[in-house]
């Protein structure tokens, strides 16, 4: 069984966010990578991109399908994990360790609507 870090918040679209002050690291959950299967390509936004909560910030492509990546929060992209460009398969190996973008939140109040680990695990049961 995969463990879902208690310190993360989760979305119904299977992203996680690790909040630290007004910043959040974002990735996809273990459940999401299992559903996708072998990831072959990840397209990430430019640094400086402004996102609304629920807006697509990129795409993830597996052998099976192409899926959108949705931002759990509103804010600005301040970092991207460029290493994923050449090694997208690391998301399969360690989905909770390989973040995709860091966002500077501009509406911290939104995070209350996100799921905690227990709620997310109930969702994917």
């Amino acid at each position: 069984m995969a463990s879902y870090p208690a310190g993360f918040k989760y979305t119904k679209d299977h992203e996680w966010i690790e909040l630290s002050g007004d910043r959040g690291k974002i990735g996809i959950t273990d459940y999401a990578q299992q559903q996708l299967g072998d990831v072959v390509y990840i397209e990430l936004p430019e640094i400086g991109a402004k996102l609304k909560q629920g807006q697509s910030f990129g795409t993830i492509e597996s052998v099976k399908a192409v899926s959108e990546l949705y931002s759990p929060v509103t804010g600005e992209v301040i970092e991207i994990n460029a290493a994923l460009k050449d090694k997208p398969e690391t998301v399969n190996k360690d989905p909770h360790g390989n973040w995709m973008v860091v966002i500077k939140l501009t509406n911290a109040g939104e995070t209350g609507a996100l799921l905690d680990a227990a709620q997310y695990q109930a969702l994917i049961k």
């Binding site: 299967g37 492509e61 052998v63 192409v66």
Partner: protein, 371 residues
Amino acid sequence: MEQATETPLKKTPLNARHRASGAKMVPFGGWDMPVEYSGLSNEHTAVRTRAGIFDVSHMGEIEIAGKDALAAVQRITSNDAAKLATGQAQYSGLLTPQGTFVDDLLVYRLAPAHFLLVVNAGNIAKDYAWIAANITSAGDAVAVDASSRYALIALQGPEAVNVLQPLTGVDLTSLKYYWFGHGEVASVRATVSRTGYTGEDGFEIFVPPGSADRVWLAILESGRGADVIPCGLGARDTLRLEAGMRLHGNDIDETTTVLEADLSWIVGWKKDDFNGASALREQKASGVKRKIVGFELLDRGIARHGCDAYIGGAKAGLVTSGTQTPHVKKSIGMAYLPVEHTAPGTEFDVDIRGRPTRARVVPMPFYKRPK
């Protein structure tokens, strides 16, 4: 996934087995089918290195019998069925008068005047209507849609012969590629054919629907030592693509001719008139303008069915299949390109969701099994 139509999905005799085994099910060609059991990559590798078992009971079976059955089959299919001995099968096409594909199929000669045509699941009704209409001029021959009388199980991979032989009296070592024999498998009446859609050695086993589950379990039991696993349509697609096999509805259809699909070997050029013959002879004489190629992506990503191909910045062709192959670990595909740009080594661009991605023409198949 959403089902596009209101029609309830059809179920193969193994549907309950797939569901009980935890397979991920999807709608495919009107059927509720397993797309994946333990994981696409895992299943693909099992077939390349050991063996995998597939439920392909959704495929259609159309029988043609009667004194003039051979003449009927010769008229409606592209390959030369007169070359088939009883007990032998061939890959062929059901063609329009334009030489394009109504469907592709396998033609089995069950007896001198009795043929079995195995067609694609999504095309059964269309093919049957088309065949019935097109054999009337051939004389004494009738077509019967016998799809509900057969379950079809494919066992594919280098270990297939060792796994199946203990279950059957059919001598598999003397059964040549594209030949079949009748007998029993796990005490069930069966026709065992040395054919498949994976590029590996293997068998397709026709059994009565009521006995399909028994045969399925017996094969898995016999294959336990070799770690034979059940596989879904996802691995079936990546395996066939690696082997360079065309998929009707993707790589070939009613807009692509046999010659454009680079399948002139399935045309019986010397036989009498058949559907599409004059169009193909004309196209053979004048030369095709576009042709299917295999390609590899030089950049990351997957070029999928429907992506446009560009040469020198201008739209020049179309991708018909694409995947990242779990075995060769390359992003490969098939595309139609102008014939002057089809030499191996030619580079072109594929538009993947607005991103130009470099590709290179390579010879097919992408994978050839070691002899």
